[in-house]
């Protein structure tokens, strides 16, 4: 038994236009890197959790590909964009209950192909459609962009949120990305650049939408006592939670207005013994700029409906009141589902973020978001043991 759980290792492959490696190969590379980062041999791992991905999951066959033997924990998990947080929570629970001692959690994806526009990677087109569900798909309800545009518009109609406020998120995130050598988009942008970028699905401009990336990221979770003896500064897991609101498509639905963070946030913060005011750094799942605004509200960093004004105040960028998505997030950094915010959280908590390192990093909040705001996970991390 152990007094807590911690992230002891982080492994990241090359991210972005990385071709010629399957998701399983990428995942294997990331697990090797994460174990080596922790100062562990692969044979020290006794647990492996593998995330679902859109471009084909590495599968639990990854264990065989890595030559891992006598594992005590092995599963593929899927809560869409909330999976990374769910995997880490599962790994921590296993470590705390003595089921396993060193668990690797990995996400890998390779939706990008050479000479194909990035948006096409997640687009499933067809010429003939069948039945009522086929009809709605044919009408355009098959694009994730369209559903997030519907959600964002509802928030705008209800609370007066504006496209310029979405733009404030994009601009702040890019300012962070400019200081991250791993970020795919590092050239500064202005609010005008955001407003002039082409429409993807109104009210969402191109600069409201995340990147598409190939690559893999893994972390290794161990007991806190063991992590202290390993190669890198431990990143302690103070709290975690999930939320799956199950918005129905009918009268009274909160679709577009709230996320599962209304459930997972209080659970994780209670476990960690903190309130929103204690959070120094936020790493929020930013599939779209709008997702950041609505998540900030649901975590209680501002009142419901005031996420837009909060972002427009400059709070999120370098030097702001609540440093958010300090690696450039998924909008400008790299798109590895929930591993994007988690990896940057580990880097910041370790104090290894270089030029973009935030001075206060005692409490780091990490969110994961999946589906159309249907699934949410929260992690609370710290460089300090939970007292």
């Amino acid at each position: 038994m152990t007094d807590g759980a911690a992230i002891a290792g982080l492994g990241m492959t090359e991210l972005g236009k990385v071709y010629g490696r399957s998701p399983r190969r990428l995942a294997a590379d990331a697990v090797r890197l994460a174990a080596a980062d922790a100062g562990l041999a692969l044979s020290d791992l006794d647990g492996l959790l593998v995330s679902h991905g859109l471009g084909g999951s590495p599968g639990i066959e990854l264990a065989g590909a890595l030559g891992l033997r006598d594992l005590r924990l092995l599963s593929q998990m899927n809560a869409f964009g909330a999976t990374a947080g769910a995997m880490v929570a599962h790994a921590a629970t296993a470590v705390l209950s003595g089921q396993a001692t060193a668990v690797a959690c990995v996400f890998a994806d390779a939706p990008l192909r050479p000479r194909q526009p990035s948006g096409a990677a997640y687009d499933r087109g067809a010429r003939e459609y069948h039945g009522y569900g086929g009809m709605t798909a044919a009408l355009g309800f098959r694009s994730v962009n369209a559903f997030y545009a519907l959600a964002a518009r509802r928030h705008m109609e209800r609370y007066g949120t504006t496209s310029e406020q979405f733009g404030a998120v994009a601009v702040a995130t890019r300012r962070w990305a400019a200081m991250n050598p791993l970020a795919q988009l590092r050239d500064p942008i202005t609010l005008d650049d955001h407003q002039n970028s082409r429409w993807v699905a109104e009210p969402l401009h191109l600069l409201d939408c995340c990147l598409v990336s190939n690559g893999a990221i893994a972390v290794v979770v161990t007991g806190a006592d063991r992590a202290r003896d390993l190669a890198r500064p431990p990143v302690h897991l103070w709290g975690w939670g999930q939320g799956h609101p199950g918005h129905r498509q009918e009268r009274g639905s909160e679709f577009g207005l709230t996320t599962g963070a209304t459930i997972s946030g209080p659970i994780a913060m209670k476990m960690a013994g903190i309130t929103p005011g204690d959070v120094d750094v936020c790493q929020l799942y930013d599939c779209y700029t709008y997702t950041v605004l609505v998540s900030l509200e649901d975590y209680g960093f501002c009142a419901k409906g005031e996420g837009g004004a909060f972002a427009a105040s400059g709070a999120l960028g370098p030097g702001g009141a609540l440093s958010t998505n300090t690696g450039g997030g998924q909008l400008s950094g790299y798109y590895m589902w929930g591993m994007t915010p988690l990896s940057e959280a580990v880097i910041q908590a370790r104090g290894e973020a270089g030029e973009r390192q935030v001075p206060a990093r005692d409490v780091v909040l990490v969110s994961g978001n999946g589906g159309i705001l249907d699934h949410h996970s929260t992690l609370i991390l710290s460089p300090h043991p939970r007292t």
């Binding site: 067809a126 009809m135 355009g140 429409w199």
Partner: protein, 133 residues
């Protein structure tokens, strides 16, 4: 934006029969009378699975909308954008449809709408909503 060709699937045919008759036919729970979208497979309200087909009144109001733009081609031209909407039927369920006969600038949450159907040259009809009155 081009819609493609719609075919029946054997499970939701009454919707297309209704559409051909200019009626909006959706599902209603035989156990609790709650109305659902045509592709519902069970009633989330009462857990029942006896969903009947029934004609909705066709009145709705706009919940939210999006203008979906196609990717520009190599020559810089893009297909005509599609005006997508979530609408709330008078009976309660939300449906996904295109909007017709209204410009995006004229839209607001709560706008009264009425169901209509698009008639392509080939294949089944598709669902539209137009401003009421």
């Amino acid at each position: 934006m081009d819609i493609g060709t719609l075919r029946r699937d054997g499970r939701t045919d009454p919707f297309f029969d209704g559409a051909a008759d200019d009626r909006l036919v959706i599902r209603r729970c035989a156990d609790c009378d709650r109305w659902h979208a045509p592709d519902a497979t069970g009633c989330p309200e009462c857990g029942g699975d006896r969903l009947e087909w029934a004609a909705a009144d066709g009145r709705a109001e706009l919940v939210t909308w999006a203008v979906l733009h196609g990717r520009p081609g190599p020559d810089g031209t893009a297909p005509e954008p599609a005006l997508l909407a979530l609408v709330e039927l008078a009976e309660g369920p939300w449906l996904q449809a295109r909007l017709d006969g209204v410009a995006p600038a004229g839209l607001r949450a709560g706008l009264p709408l009425r169901a209509a159907f698009g008639h392509p040259e080939e294949g089944e009809l598709h669902l539209l909503f137009r401003p009421a009155g």
